[in-house]
């Protein structure tokens, strides 16, 4: 009897010990093992924000890309059931060839991949057969139903418009890291946050209903809206590309700016990077030259000097000067005009129309260097613009006390200082807008998922010169089109156009001057109430070395701008200010 009780107690005791062992001692471990068989978790990708133009056209978009991975250990012939229900055995060789046909490699290469993976590790279960396939190719691979082929999806980036705006948009690396341009500078707006979700699944991998739990919410990036107009941007890029090629130049830029708001509608350059094919272009041209590459602007700055003179009450459009081919001032500087000529009796208007260095030098003497420096500063020269583009340059404008005798005069006609195309366009924007400069902008704002908009630039305004001075300069610049050297190529039927050429000497880096120039044409239309500023620059053209190289491109692009924005043709003729006396 006692023995029976002992036995029972022993058995009960054993059960209790085991129970405690399972329920308490090993509980966490066993629960984890159980969970690992039924529970799983996955990453929920948040989409990186789009970059869109002012009309909402996608310039940079987020897509899903797929890597195709192989399971080398299990790469064996398999049975496939075709649509008719018949079963066929597919050899590894055939399967490899089928994969290769989609991913753009040969079957032999795929097989080599498997062999290599097994050579390194005979138990290998992982080899990448192709990277960043688009959804169509991925589906094609999937439809092969090869049991030892899987996929990994990850976010990708697409640039449906190619090189249009590529210089400002920038690009991301193959792993999604932003590397250049707005992709990098505006990453705070665009970046997304990946989330995590957990779920329970049955033996066959089917997710059990009601078990999906979001651990971390995925957050999509914001939409970055630019002031750029995609179609204008393309047109400007196309035209500047054609002209750079035709004139044998190195590169060219075009800036289109709204004269009333300072919004940049196009900032084109050639060569320009296609963010979808970054390797296709020299590294130097992957940056936005209009912001990062200042140059001595040349005669386009004569318009600024004229505005200063009128604003300071020291000249009118009819002010008179005798401009010779050469001008040797007392301080020892030597000024010459680009085309040799005898004495010409020019008004200030005529000085601009003829682009006379000697004429503007004599008239500009009325201003002190400090006055001119202060005016140039007010025009935004020497300072980075409000756009604040990545690696943007402010150009070079040295203090007037270090100007040498030549620089004293050269700064009157845009030499001895440097400016970026954006600064030049912005200075002309002030002239076009009655003397009030509106801070240039490239970004409209960043729209977040919840509809809130941030990063809207403040359109700060400042008066640079009086309204009268600005308006009279615009009227004088009309004479460049009606009366100047390039009139025929600059005129747009039905519209009053004001423009100024520039053919700027460039240092060759060793104290001398290059025999090629940076040629420019900057202007606005319609001149009676300018709506848009267009600025065209071509570096070192060799077939046409003067600003005649930039003139037709300016005219084509300005015409397109007027058409795009449905600007009404002018009703009054140009004032035709006298250029001579």
């Amino acid at each position: 009897m006692a023995l029976a009780i002992v036995c029972v107690l022993a058995v009960v005791g054993a059960f209790i010990v085991r129970l405690v062992d399972i329920q308490v001692v090993q509980a966490d471990q066993l629960r984890a093992v159980a969970a690992s068989k039924t529970a799983d978790q996955s990453t929920v990708y948040g989409a990186r924000g789009e970059i869109v133009d002012t009309n909402g056209n996608v310039l940079a978009g987020s897509v899903t890309r797929y890597d195709i991975v192989l399971d080398p250990l299990n790469a064996k012939p398999f049975t496939r059931t075709d649509d008719g229900g018949a079963s066929v055995t597919v050899s590894v060789e055939q399967a490899a060839a089928e994969i290769g046909a989609i991913t753009g490699s040969t079957g032999a290469e795929i097989q080599a991949l498997i062999a290599d993976a097994l050579a390194v590790n005979p138990e290998s279960r992982y080899a990448v057969a192709a990277k960043t396939l688009d959804v169509d190719d991925f589906q094609a691979v999937r439809a092969l139903k090869i049991p030892w082929v899987g996929s990994q999806k990850h976010p990708g980036r697409i640039y449906p418009n190619g090189a249009v705006g590529g210089n400002v948009i920038g690009f991301v690396g193959s792993d999604g890291t932003p590397l250049q341009g707005l992709e990098q500078a505006q990453n705070d707006c665009l970046a997304s946050i990946n989330g995590t979700q957990t779920f329970k699944k049955g033996k066959d991998g089917v997710i059990l209903p009601g078990t999906t739990q979001t651990i971390v919410d995925a957050k999509n990036g914001g939409t970055l809206k630019l002031t750029i107009d995609r179609d204008l941007q393309w047109f400007a890029q196309q035209r500047i590309a054609e002209q750079v090629i035709a004139t044998g130049g190195d590169s060219g830029t075009v800036t289109i700016m709204d004269a009333k708001t300072g919004k940049i509608r196009a900032v084109a350059q050639y060569p320009s990077v296609d963010p979808g094919n970054v390797g296709g272009i020299d590294e130097y041209y992957r940056q936005a030259l209009s912001f990062t590459a200042p140059f001595e602007p040349g005669s386009t700055f004569k318009a600024l000097t004229a505005a200063m003179l009128i604003d300071a009450g020291l000249a009118t459009p009819e002010s008179k000067v005798v401009a010779d081919g050469w001008f040797y001032p007392d301080n020892g500087a030597r000024i010459k005009d680009s085309i040799p000529h005898g004495p010409m009796k020019l008004t200030l208007t005529g000085v601009l129309a003829e682009s006379s260095n000697t004429g503007i030098s004599q008239m500009g003497e009325a201003l002190t260097p400090q006055q001119r420096y202060d005016y140039l500063k007010k025009f935004g020269i020497g300072d980075v613009t409000a756009v604040g583009f990545d690696a943007e340059s402010g150009g070079i404008l040295s203090q007037p006390d270090v100007w040498d005798n030549q620089t004293y005069y050269a700064t009157m006609f845009g030499q001895g200082l440097s400016a970026t195309p954006i600064q030049i366009a912005s200075a002309y924007q002030a002239l076009a807008n009655g003397g009030v400069q509106v801070a240039p902008s490239l970004i409209e704002g960043c729209e977040h998922d919840d509809g809130s908009i941030t990063d809207v630039p403040s359109a700060s305004e400042k008066r640079v010169v009086s309204e009268q001075a600005a308006d009279e300069v615009v009227q004088m610049l009309e004479s460049v089109v009606t009366d100047g050297h390039f009139g025929d190529t600059l005129q747009i039927p039905g519209y009053r156009v004001a423009a100024k050429s520039g053919t700027a000497e460039q240092g060759d880096g060793s104290g001398g001057l290059k025999d090629t120039y940076v040629v420019s044409m900057t202007g606005m239309a319609p001149a009676e109430d300018p709506e848009y500023v267009v600025s065209v620059h071509i570096s070192n053209p060799t077939k046409i070395r003067s600003s005649a190289a930039a003139a037709p491109t300016f005219q084509q692009i300005m015409t397109q701008v007027l058409k795009t924005y449905r600007i009404e043709p002018s009703t009054e003729p140009s004032p035709d200010l006298p250029t001579t006396y």
Binding site: Q139, A163, I245, P493, P552, E568
Partner: protein, 189 residues
């Protein structure tokens, strides 16, 4: 199952009178009650349990069937999502200016270098209309100077399909334009 039997006095006690005690009697035998439980209770209980079990089984079958249905519909959503994404990518690439310009060029279209407008409200011609012929405008140069790798890839992958779809639909008759309400006026300048 028993309730106490209460002997009640036949008359209420009268204090003024000498109380008279009623003669004691044995508690009357209660009516014999059925001590056996009713069979129907058992049947109900067992039946109820059975019904619950069957209902639970059916629900679990339905639920797991639903899980497969949900899973298959999810797959369908995924596949349609892929299709949408693929078509969206194509659409964005096809609407790129390079593609549109080169298609326009193939149709023989040229750029009008002499913009002019017809104001519908009064029929006025604004600007100086000029002939938009090849001679009056500078034709666009080669369309590959502004590269578009996305469009190139798309053109390479489905050139035949696009050619087929791109065939002009000549059968479509233009919608007749009527001006019963007067000339339409532009909403913008």
């Amino acid at each position: 199952m028993s309730s106490p039997a209460i002997a009640r006095p036949t008359t209420a006690p009268d204090r003024r009178r000498t109380p008279t005690r009623p003669p004691l009697t044995a508690v009357p035998a209660r009516e014999a009650r059925k001590s056996r439980p009713k069979l129907s209770y058992a049947l109900w209980t067992v039946g109820g349990v059975g019904a619950i079990l069957i209902a639970q089984l059916l629900m679990s079958v339905a639920l797991s069937h639903g899980a497969y249905e949900v899973s298959s519909l999810r797959t369908q959503i995924t596949e349609l999502g892929w299709q949408k994404e693929s078509l969206g990518e194509q659409l964005e690439t096809l609407s790129s200016p390079q593609y549109v310009a080169s298609a326009a060029h193939d149709l023989g279209m040229v750029i009008n270098s002499s913009p002019a407008y017809l104001r519908l409200s009064d029929g006025a011609v604004l600007g100086q209309p000029g002939e938009a012929g090849a001679a009056s405008s500078i034709p666009l140069g080669p369309s590959d100077v502004v590269g578009n790798s996305a469009a190139d890839a798309l053109a390479a992958s489905n050139a035949p399909a696009l050619e087929e779809e791109g065939a002009p639909a000549e059968d479509v008759a233009p919608t007749p334009v009527t001006f019963d309400d007067g000339l339409p006026s532009p909403k913008t300048h």
